[in-house]
């Protein structure tokens, strides 16, 4: 496996190295901004969230364990979790505004998927997604990339909430089987 420079920077941040913290920001803020923007939909909220994410990175860097995963995976998990918490805590009125954003995001998700496969970055995961029925694979991807909740997915695919849960759980078990091979 290639050297994980991001993990190296996080280890230095854990030792309160402020220069490394700045380097980490330079190296990863565009990716994290893209992640937050995709899930939150507006630049102003994504920027707000980016500040919080890097604050947490500084505070939690000591808990990062390079044995358990790559640095970028850890950072994106912090960003996604924070963005999803924000989405889920929006008031119902604010959540109503999301309708249009989600539709526009849905279009970009297709092209992002296409480029993902084309670049061959995630050959294995796209092979495993190919073992799922297409709309279920799209539901899993939509949840991960766009931060869709069970209720959003049930609306989008016009199925009862419990049916969506069953679909997704079954898909997850199937994905696990394929990815762990």
């Amino acid at each position: 496996m290639e050297e994980d420079t991001v993990a190296g920077l996080i280890a230095k941040v854990a030792a309160a190295d402020r220069a490394a913290f700045r380097d980490l920001y330079s190296a990863t803020s565009s990716k994290l901004m893209g992640t937050l923007l995709r899930i939150l939909g507006t630049r102003s909220e994504a920027e707000d969230a980016l500040q919080e994410v890097f604050t947490r990175v500084w505070l939690r860097a000591g808990r990062f364990d390079p044995e358990k995963g790559r640095g970028m995976t850890w950072l994106i998990a912090i960003a996604r979790n924070h963005a999803i918490d924000r989405l889920r805590s929006r008031s119902p009125a604010a959540a109503g505004d999301d309708g249009d954003e989600l539709d526009s995001v849905a279009d970009t998700s297709l092209s992002a998927e296409g480029s993902l496969i084309a670049k061959g970055e995630a050959r294995r995961i796209s092979d495993c997604f190919a073992t799922l029925e297409p709309d279920r694979a799209a539901a899993v991807r939509g949840a991960y990339l766009d931060g869709l909740a069970y209720t959003d997915l049930a609306d989008r695919y016009a199925v009862p909430l419990n049916t969506m849960r069953t679909w997704l759980r079954r898909s997850l078990l199937k994905l696990r089987e394929c990815l762990d091979q």
Binding site: V13, A15, A16, R18, Y25, S30, K31, L32, M33, G34, T35, L37, R38, A46, E47, L50, Q51, F54, T55, L59, R60, A61, G62, R63, K68, G69, T73, I76, A77, D85, R86, R88, S89, S109, A112, E113, L116, K119, E121, A122, I125, V140, A143, Y144, L145, L148, A149, T151, N162, T163, R165, T166, L168, R169, R170, L172, L173, R176, L179, D180
Partner: protein
């Protein structure tokens, strides 16, 4: 859940729950309950990490987006000043921390047995809710000395606020003292307690009313 006809072992149920959390499909109360469990249940936390790694290849689907330089605001929140040379406060960072090689991590530690020097009182003497902050040179310990915990479904969250910067959460206050590894108690900074929904503020900024606050001084 009558239509859920999946026959799952308890292990599979845990694993699916971890996957649902990583995927992000749960609602806020469910997310908070997963996060609370992961703090103490290491096997369950490992399932979450495993799913983060399994799905990490999907991260290629997040396109990069130009990020403005937000470091001045972030550093102001964490270190108290956007311009390192402006204030002497940085002595504590450069010296103390580097030597101790300790992050200002919000890591809960065992509470020291002897009471450390008092550095701040949150709330006035007559207030129904009051906290004391003590610092022994390494750990900031905040204890409720008057009043009661938040009502069910809500929590009291502790914040540290550098002058002119946004608050940073130091954790949730319960009946036990809250201990946070903190290398120094920067004089003039504010400690505040706000009322937040269960699990703490989801946004990283206080969302509820301030219940008590005090300035850090060399008392």
């Amino acid at each position: 859940m009558t239509s859920d006809d999946l026959a799952m072992t308890p292990q599979d149920k845990d694993d699916v729950l971890a996957a649902e959390y990583v995927l992000g499909v749960l609602d806020l109360p469910e997310r908070l309950s997963v996060e609370t469990r992961a703090k103490t249940d290491t096997a369950f936390a490992a399932r979450i990490t495993a799913w983060e790694n399994r799905l990490a290849d999907l991260n290629g689907g997040f396109a990069e987006a130009p990020a403005p330089n937000l470091l001045p605001q972030i550093e102001a929140r964490l270190f108290g000043t956007p311009a390192p040379r402006r204030r002497p406060l940085f002595g504590w960072l450069a010296g103390a921390i580097a030597a101790a090689a300790v992050a200002i991590a919000a890591v809960a530690l065992l509470v020291p047995p002897a009471p450390a020097p008092l550095v701040a009182t949150l709330g006035a003497e007559a207030d129904p809710l009051r906290f004391e902050a003590r610092h022994d040179g390494q750990t900031l310990v905040v204890t409720r000395v008057a009043g009661t915990p938040a009502p069910a479904g809500q929590v009291q969250e502790l914040w540290i606020i550098a002058p002119d910067a946004a608050p940073v959460s130091l954790g949730l206050l319960t009946d036990a003292p809250l201990a946070v590894a903190y290398p120094d108690t920067p004089e003039g900074w504010t400690l505040a307690v706000s009322l937040e929904p269960e699990g703490g503020s989801p946004t990283g900024a206080p969302t509820g009313p301030v219940l008590a606050a005090g300035t850090i001084t060399d008392l």
